[in-house]
């Protein structure tokens, strides 16, 4: 039985205004086959948790540990973590010009498994997975994420999830920007991966909408870099009715409004870059 365990994780990033502490002691235990939803307002550190576990160089680990079946992950390189069985479905997957989806998938599968997949079997596996996600065959010849619509990018992330068969997957706002049809297709893919491989899932989301299609075993509410409340699926229903307001207590308000302010002030610059 595989276990992903996050213990007292503290993470900061360097900003123009100096060091900013984002995660302030996160504890989580995710077992094989479990679905954990991480919910919380913007700026609460949900994505930071995802990228810290995956090993993005921008995030500095101040203290704490992340172990996969007892082995420390935080000392591994990004690719070692992936080969150990971690997968991050990204919110904003980047374009890789000149690298076709076919080439990318085969290279990744070879890297993860340590051996090249047998050609004939691999082609049919990829074709089936693409058909399951209602992806046109022409997709395979396109360059990775180049000119993909938002929905196509997310389906491509889930395609990788199904093909690479990790032990644990972190889905970073996979639901954002999807219409309901695409959301159902993506959710089906996630559920299929769980059924087929006993995948453990950390589902990061701002909205409860995706939880209608992917039923969580546990819900954790993230506020100001910590888990503020934990419960079962009923907690998500309560959040749908009440929103995050009740978590923004006096204790949290100052820090959280700062966090929101940070996010807001990033808005225009992101837009101009995009």
């Amino acid at each position: 039985m595989s276990v992903l365990e996050v213990k007292n994780l503290h993470v900061s990033v360097e900003t123009e205004q100096g060091t900013k502490h984002i995660l302030k002691g996160v504890d989580l235990v995710i077992r094989e086959g479990e679905i954990h939803a991480i919910m919380g307002p913007n700026g609460s550190g949900k994505s930071t948790l995802a990228y810290s576990i995956a090993g993005h160089p921008k995030y500095h680990i101040d203290s704490g540990s992340v172990t996969l079946d007892g082995i420390e992950v935080l000392t591994m390189s990004v690719d070692q973590r992936a080969r150990a069985g971690l997968f991050l479905a990204m919110q904003y997957p980047v374009e890789i010009p000149g690298v076709t989806v076919t080439n990318f998938l085969r290279t990744a599968k070879t890297a993860i498994d340590g051996v090249e997949p047998s050609i004939r079997q691999w082609v049919s596996t990829v074709n089936k997975a693409m058909a399951d996600l209602r992806m046109d065959k022409s997709f395979a010849a396109r360059n990775v994420n180049e000119g993909f619509s938002g929905g196509e990018k997310k389906r491509h992330e889930i395609l990788q999830l199904e093909l690479l068969e990790p032990k644990f997957a972190i889905l970073d706002e996979t639901d954002s920007g999807l219409d309901v049809d695409a959301l159902k297709i993506v959710a089906e893919g996630v559920n299929r991966a769980k059924t087929n491989t006993g995948l453990g899932i950390l589902l990061i989301t701002h909205y409860t909408r995706i939880l209608r299609y992917i039923t969580p075993d546990f819900v954790h509410v993230f506020v100001d870099g910590r888990v503020a409340e934990e419960g079962g699926p009923e907690l998500a229903d309560r959040l749908e009715d009440e929103g995050y307001d009740r978590f923004l207590t006096t204790d949290n308000v100052t820090t959280d409004s700062q966090a929101n302010e940070r996010v807001t002030s990033q808005g225009p610059s992101e837009t101009s870059v995009g």
């Binding site: 995956a54 993005h56 390189s77 990004v78 690719d79 992936a82 000149g98 890297a111 690479l164």
Partner: protein, 400 residues
């Protein structure tokens, strides 16, 4: 004391004449050439002034290294070559007085004029007929002495051809290549520089593209100490189409330069210029200058040029200078872009997050970056071979 202060005030306030000009000295006032097509040209070596290295067309070139080609006598005798191709193409040496010589262009720098003054015979490649033909001209035995050469490529009306100029081995060569694409013809010329490490190669390619003709020109520079290849393409017939592509990978100590000139002379012409390069290792230097001139008769022109450079290590330099000159308002579109950047860490993270090692991820990204141009070559055997050659370049850089 006060006099000295007065003199220095000009320096201090920065009101001196610009160092590369002399534009405002009243006695010697000179006016810069205002239009790309007005630049001085001549096929006679002595018509060009001695090159000092600060001239606009030479200031980014390692002039000391190419000096013999600019100034010295060049051996212009015929050289050995190897041809592999279809029967529909004629390859022969022709005399200096052949009527085709000088029809595609005129030398614009002293090294080009030196080659023009020196060649004894020109190598003429002539394509005729309706059937598509392929030809590879391999040149690998120029040797270490200073040489001048002249090549004439003619695609007769409505012919279709794909020609590869494959360059290997030692060379100290200045040459001119004239290309005439007659009405309705479709011609691709790919010039591949895989010279030995100490080779010096200066080349000017001149092309005229006739009515409704289509010309694709691809420069691939991977090997040599200094390679400077300047294509000038004139879209002279209505509806002519010119695609100018380039791909270069400069390692430590290599200088690859390309000064591209695309002249939209006639109406409804379409031009695309796209050069992509990678730089790796101390002293790797690339230069791309892209001049596009849309003339006053070129109504309905559609033109776009771009250059992208990927910097893979410290100690490299990429010069990228797009110039767009438009003499008529009646065009479909004209644009330019230039970007030189380091390896994208987010691409690296994405690939690594899928289990791919850093070295393999870099390889994928660089091959991907350059493959956009490789895919334009249109000859699958050459495309495959160049992918491997680029792969080898990357491997050398990683182990070094």
């Amino acid at each position: 004391m006060s006099a000295a202060t007065t003199t220095n005030a000009a320096d201090r306030l920065g009101i001196r004449a610009h160092s590369d000009g002399g534009w405002d000295a009243p006695s010697t006032r000179t006016t810069p050439v205002q239009t790309r097509s007005d630049r001085f040209s001549s096929n006679i070596h002595d018509d060009f002034a001695i090159v000092v290295g600060t001239e606009l067309e030479w200031k980014l070139t390692p002039v000391a290294a190419v000096r013999p080609l600019i100034d010295d006598a060049l051996d212009g005798s015929p050289y050995a070559y190897f041809v592999n191709g279809s029967p529909g193409v004629a390859v022969e040496w022709v005399d200096r007085n052949d009527a085709r010589i000088g029809t595609a262009g005129t030398a614009e720098d002293r090294a080009s004029a030196n080659a023009w003054s020196s060649f004894e015979k020109a190598l003429a490649i002539t394509v005729s007929g309706d059937e598509p033909v392929e030809l590879t001209l391999s040149r690998s035995s120029f040797g270490p002495s200073a040489r001048g050469a002249h090549t004439l490529i003619t695609a007769k009306a409505n012919s279709r051809a794909h020609i590869v100029l494959q360059n290997d081995g030692q060379a100290l060569l200045s040459e001119n290549v004239e290309i005439v694409v007659e009405d309705g013809a479709q011609l691709t010329v790919v010039s591949v520089q895989e010279w030995a490490d100490d080779a010096i190669h200066l080349a000017s390619h001149f092309a005229t593209v006739g009515r409704d003709a289509r010309f694709t020109h691809v420069v691939v520079s991977l090997g040599g100490r200094v390679v400077r290849l300047n294509p000038s393409v004139h879209l002279s017939g209505d509806g002519a189409d010119g695609e100018l592509f380039g791909l270069y990978f400069a390692d430590a100590g290599q200088h690859f330069e390309q000064r591209v000139y695309l002249h939209h002379q006639a109406a409804h012409t379409k031009g695309r210029v796209n050069y992509k390069g990678a730089l790796q290792g101390v002293g790797a230097h690339t230069v791309w200058v892209g001049d596009v001139l849309i003339g006053r008769d070129a109504a309905g022109t559609d033109s776009y040029e771009q250059n992208r450079n990927l910097v893979l290590s410290e100690g490299t330099r990429a010069d990228s200078i797009p110039n767009l000159e438009i003499e008529t308002g009646d065009i479909l579109g004209a644009g330019h872009a230039s970007a030189t950047g380091r390896f994208d860490d987010e691409q690296l993270f994405y690939l690594q997050a899928r289990g791919i090692s850093e070295a393999e991820a870099r390889r994928l990204v660089v091959l991907g970056f350059l493959s956009e141009i490789v895919q334009k070559i249109g000859r699958s055997d050459l495309e495959e071979r160049l992918q491997l050659a680029i792969d080898a370049e990357l491997a050398t850089g990683t182990s070094a």
